[in-house]
């Protein structure tokens, strides 16, 4: 750590990890309700459980991006953050808003659009938080060195905030509502979040592999160009069956097929940089997370996304467990692993210690990743069976669900594995090992 103000990232990382734990806990509860439906039905209905599961995910990922930005901007811009105090205020405001939202959900206070359930005051709070963040980081960027990494990251974060404004637009025509709803959801996760992902991976590669910044930044431009050239019109694959015109099927088919390409480019990029760098960075677990992130994002977002993106297939699989399978692995591979990569990389510097608990962290990596992979397989099988029975043979929904119950049991098992893995990871990140509690000399970052 070269700049004192990078320390504010610690708040965000710990906050994100706390919400991460909550997200996984509620995920396990939701998985349990799938197999034991009477369990919580009186006190905590499934819709509230799922709301907390998805909202906690989104908020902790965003919090992680904020933290990552506060960590890497000073190093990229070679200057202190404009106002560390504002960053800390922003953190508490964000955490309180997130906490208030969760408590509100439990008491049934929410709006009703999927993922955008936050009540209006909380939505306004999020915008205020975003404005504070953008002001703070943009001022930092303006006074310092401008690199491709920081430029791409900041453009992406600006668009994250701008696109969120569509969350305030809730037309009474359901089809119109759905069309603009995807402006937030798709253009986030398959657009600007991918830019964030590419720029953070680029930062990590510069730091950990020792490859020249010039090379990395050229790759970065290739990756982000591919992302947006395909991803924007790739939104078409959400406009097949919601009352939008039929031409979206053609557009969606062609462009969303190509959405695999940027993810593939990221895999090639990460492995090529590590191979080319040929340098032993002491933080092996951070490197593992970075490489794992690119691979799992390619499978989860790329391969599993492509699997049911063609309209003739999607006609049958739309809204089945196939979608759930894709959603889980895509979010885990692309964005959860990305955040864990930057956390694992940054924490030793922020806390002034050697990369610690590497073994535990890597065990966490393998257990969680295997758990998620298994969960994806079980849900995919469940989805394929469901598609056949329900969409092709026309069997009743609930009867079909009884047929695939076994897969839900296996999903719960993999969910518990994920919970264990995540416990390892959080433990490894937060709790210092006894032996390393002495302030040790940190190896210098590359570049």
């Amino acid at each position: 750590m070269k700049y004192q103000s990078q320390k504010v990232a610690l708040y965000y990382i710990y906050g994100a990890l706390a919400l991460f734990a909550a997200q996984i806990l509620f995920g396990v509860v939701a998985g349990t309700v799938y197999v034991l439906p009477n369990l919580f039905s009186e006190i905590l209905p499934f819709n509230v459980i799922r709301m907390i599961h998805t909202n906690a995910l989104i908020v902790w990922l965003l919090m992680g991006y904020f933290g990552a930005a506060y960590y890497l901007l000073p190093e990229e811009c070679e200057t202190e953050i404009h106002s560390p105090k504002l960053a800390i205020i922003q953190f508490w405001l964000f955490l309180i808003a997130a906490g208030a939202a969760v408590v509100g959900y439990i008491f049934g206070i929410h709006e009703g659009r999927e993922f955008l359930e936050q009540p209006l005051p909380i939505k306004v709070g999020i915008v205020v938080v975003a404005l504070m963040f953008l002001y703070n980081t943009t001022m930092t960027l303006l006074k310092g060195r401008k690199t491709a990494v920081s430029n791409v990251l900041m453009v992406a974060l600006w668009f994250v905030a701008l696109l969120f404004l569509f969350a305030f637009y809730n037309p009474s025509n359901l089809a119109v509502d759905k069309m603009y709803w995807w402006y937030v959801v798709h253009l986030w996760v398959e657009g600007v979040w991918e830019l964030i992902m590419a720029s953070i991976l680029a930062f990590l590669m510069i730091k950990m592999t020792g490859v020249d910044r010039e090379v990395v930044e050229k790759w970065l431009y290739v990756m982000v160009s591919l992302t947006l050239f395909t991803g924007i019109l790739g939104t078409g694959h959400h406009y097949y069956w919601i009352g939008t015109p039929g031409y979206w099927q053609w557009i969606g088919n062609v462009f969303s097929t190509l959405e695999v390409v940027p993810f593939f480019a990221m895999v090639v990029f990460c492995f090529y940089m590590v191979w080319k760098g040929g340098r032993d960075h002491p933080n092996k677990s951070a490197l593992l997370w970075s490489l794992g992130c690119s691979v799992m994002a390619f499978f989860g977002a790329g391969v599993w996304g492509f699997m049911h993106t063609l309209s003739s297939i999607n006609y049958y699989t739309h809204g089945t467990q196939v979608t759930a399978a894709h959603g889980h692995l895509a979010f885990y591979g692309a964005y959860v692993m990305l955040n864990l990569a930057i956390f694992t990389y940054a924490l030793p510097y922020l806390r002034g210690r050697e990369p610690y608990n590497q073994q535990l962290n890597m065990w966490g990596f393998w257990i969680t990743t295997s758990g998620m992979a298994f969960m994806t397989f079980t849900l995919t099988f469940a989805g394929v069976v469901q598609t056949h029975l329900q969409r092709v043979l026309g069997m009743n929904y609930m009867d079909v669900q009884d047929q695939v119950a076994l897969f839900y049991w296996m999903r719960l098992g993999s969910g518990i594995a994920v919970l264990i893995g995540v416990t390892f990871i959080i433990w490894a990140l937060v709790v210092p090992p006894r032996a390393a509690s002495v302030r040790a000399k940190i190896s210098q970052p590359a570049e």
């Binding site: 050229k218 431009y221 290739v222 050239f229 088919n253 062609v254 570049e447």
Partner: protein, 197 residues
């Protein structure tokens, strides 16, 4: 390279690293990311078109009768000529003749403008005949493919104009590369959509 030296040497434009093979192509490598994505998109669209035609050859043939083949043919000639002008622009900038290069770039984009006018007349005739995007599979694909291509012509004109303002050699090559791609896509689109039946 340390951060220090990068800052002092103006990190932004001082690069010697390769673009991983993309620099072998004329013009700026990132332009080729765009061009290659576009070629795949148009290629996929043309193959999709052929595939959709297999499902309903009669319907496609009927709808195709309503296309203006002559206008399409004239447009092919217009774009070919315009592409030739873009070649002249590169020749001119290679010999250091900036003024002439600018002139050829403007003429090339004029060709693009004529293409667009003819296209507009074509579209207008379709709309007047009550044919729209959702009329049939053939017309959906016809409007999507040719419309998407026409928007590339618009973008190409914009790029040629920008390049005409700053006509360095690499800029002219980059702009011309995009323009030739638009040209090349059209000579493929024209026979597949207008002529084959």
């Amino acid at each position: 390279m340390t951060a220090q030296t990068q800052l002092s040497s103006g990190a932004e434009d001082n690069d010697t690293a390769s673009w991983g093979g993309l620099e072998l192509l004329p013009g700026h490598p990132i332009m080729w990311v765009l061009i290659l994505s576009e070629l795949v998109v148009f290629g996929a669209f043309l193959l999709t078109f052929s595939g959709a035609r297999v499902v309903d050859p009669q319907g496609f043939a009927q709808d195709q009768m309503q296309l203006d083949r002559l206008a399409g043919g004239i447009n092919t000639l217009v774009l070919l000529t315009s592409g030739l002008f873009a070649v002249f622009a590169i020749q001119a900038v290679n010999t250091g003749n900036i003024c002439r290069s600018r002139l050829w770039l403007v003429l090339a984009s004029l060709g693009g403008a004529i293409f667009l006018i003819i296209k507009m007349i074509e579209y207008r005739a379709k709309f007047d005949a009550g044919i729209g995007l959702e009329s049939s599979t053939f017309f959906t694909l016809y409007f999507l493919i040719t419309g998407f291509h026409a928007l590339h012509v618009v973008l190409g004109i914009g790029i040629l104009m920008v390049v005409a303002i700053w006509p360095s050699r690499i800029n002219v090559e980059t702009g011309a590369a995009f323009w030739h791609m638009v040209d090349m896509v059209w000579v493929l689109v024209f026979p597949v959509i207008y002529l084959v039946r």
